[in-house]
Symmetry: C2
Amino acid sequence: MTGKIRLGIVGYGNLGKGAELAIAKNPDMELVAVFTRREPAAVKINTENARVLPVSRAEEMAAEIDVMVLCGGSATDLPEQGPMLAGKFNTVDSFDTHAKIPEYYARMDAAASAAHKVSIISIGWDPGLFSLNRMLAEAFLPAGRQYTFWGRGVSQGHSDAIRRIPGVKYGIQYTIPVAEALERVRSGENPVLTVRDRHIRDCYVVAEPGTDKEEIARTIRSMPHYFAEYETRVTFVTEEEFKRVHTATPHGGCVIHSGNTGACGEHKQLFEFSLKLDSNPEFTAGVLVAYARAACRLYREGQYGAKTIFDVPPAFVSPWPADKLRRELL
Amino acid sequence: MTGKIRLGIVGYGNLGKGAELAIAKNPDMELVAVFTRREPAAVKINTENARVLPVSRAEEMAAEIDVMVLCGGSATDLPEQGPMLAGKFNTVDSFDTHAKIPEYYARMDAAASAAHKVSIISIGWDPGLFSLNRMLAEAFLPAGRQYTFWGRGVSQGHSDAIRRIPGVKYGIQYTIPVAEALERVRSGENPVLTVRDRHIRDCYVVAEPGTDKEEIARTIRSMPHYFAEYETRVTFVTEEEFKRVHTATPHGGCVIHSGNTGACGEHKQLFEFSLKLDSNPEFTAGVLVAYARAACRLYREGQYGAKTIFDVPPAFVSPWPADKLRRELL
């Protein structure tokens, strides 16, 4: 019994690896085990004394783990693993399919409530920190307009869409905010902006030998929902260049709330939260792991059920005691 | 019984007037009374049906007010009024003397706990939203360096210091962040910055006729703690120009946390929260009033004692129900 918060990681992709790094930076935490759907022997982790186990054996570890950090994807992993594990463990996850959050919340809440466990869902930066700032700004400046810009950064969904096109060997898409639109918003002008006004989609593609590049570019640019509504740039690069330049996972963006106060709304009040991340999964993992700490505290207080970033007292994410927070950070 | 949150305002200076405007923008709130130390008949407010009463009669209104919004100053008003009113009402205030927060917290906590009321202290943007962002960033990116820049904006303390100099008729001081320092921080360079590296102090003064302007400028520039450590600019203006240009109360600033992640700290992660406010008191009042809503909710949940921005579940500041928050802002 070390007194540390004992964590498990489910899924050892980029996010899971980021969570392992983040746990190592927090002296009040320890990684107990990584759970994988791959052959455990084939998964090499970096933490001494932590085990690698199949997800199917997670339940055996219920007494040894305070919080499970769910690092699977939102498309198929979390909808299945989330409610299953929420019935056995406190959990934290980064479920990010915005349209399906209410349904996912309901399922997680049912499982966690029945088990008297805490599940904090949809943690990260969007959903997550961006959501928090949207909510706070809206409450402080009810007369105002809100904008979210993403990028410059890699959109996994759009990159996947490119890679599904026949003849594409490698593909990546960077979402880029339109500088002029950002400037207008930051000036307090409160412009009405279409989807196209706000973001450019910048694609880099390695074509299979002998394929028609023009045809690939046309297919990308005309893809509804993903690209057709945007200014979409397509650049073909060599495999060598792709692997050298386009394998990082930068991202970021900002939430801007442009409000007005005063008897006649004569005062502009600009509220902005922004992130510029060299590694999206490592930052997201840092947020997840801090909210794992919060899950542990909520559970120890006797709370249970599904929670979001809106529900968690901020102090619970910090390792610092309340009096130190008041003295040094307030 | 309207079901609205019934608020009182204590102190009708710039912040109190801002609170009145903010309450009018929130349909779930109503202003019941303004309490003043001046002659009530001499105080003209803008809310129909709200009363103006002497602070000394606040206690009579205990049954009619859910939360008192304390809009007095931190130097003398709040240390006296805060603990007195916290024993009778739920309160929210903007106590901002950083060094005295632990002591103020202890006194407010004792009074509020004894009365089973909630007092949320030190709300606004610094302390307040800046504190919240410092704490969150520190928790998410434990390997990192943190910076706070203020301005461009009016510092009340520095303006008061100028006005105390003999021969000064009017005076105002703008705190200006050094652009080059901001740029270095935003680049992820993590520079070590002295007080002088970060802010310029820009002063505008109207001198009494016949006084030695050089002497006034020298006195300002050599004032320890306030100006001596900084690049301080002093400009003399006419009374007419002063009243035309220098009576607004803009402010703002930013908290930047420049973190590193990755096995060797190779990934820069920049976290920034910034405000650009035409009216500092009106924005601060908007935050105060939203936290008055939170005080009311905490009280109805059965909580009591002094709280800070770190302790309040963010959802409590919003008028929206939890399912709407999840659906529309998460």
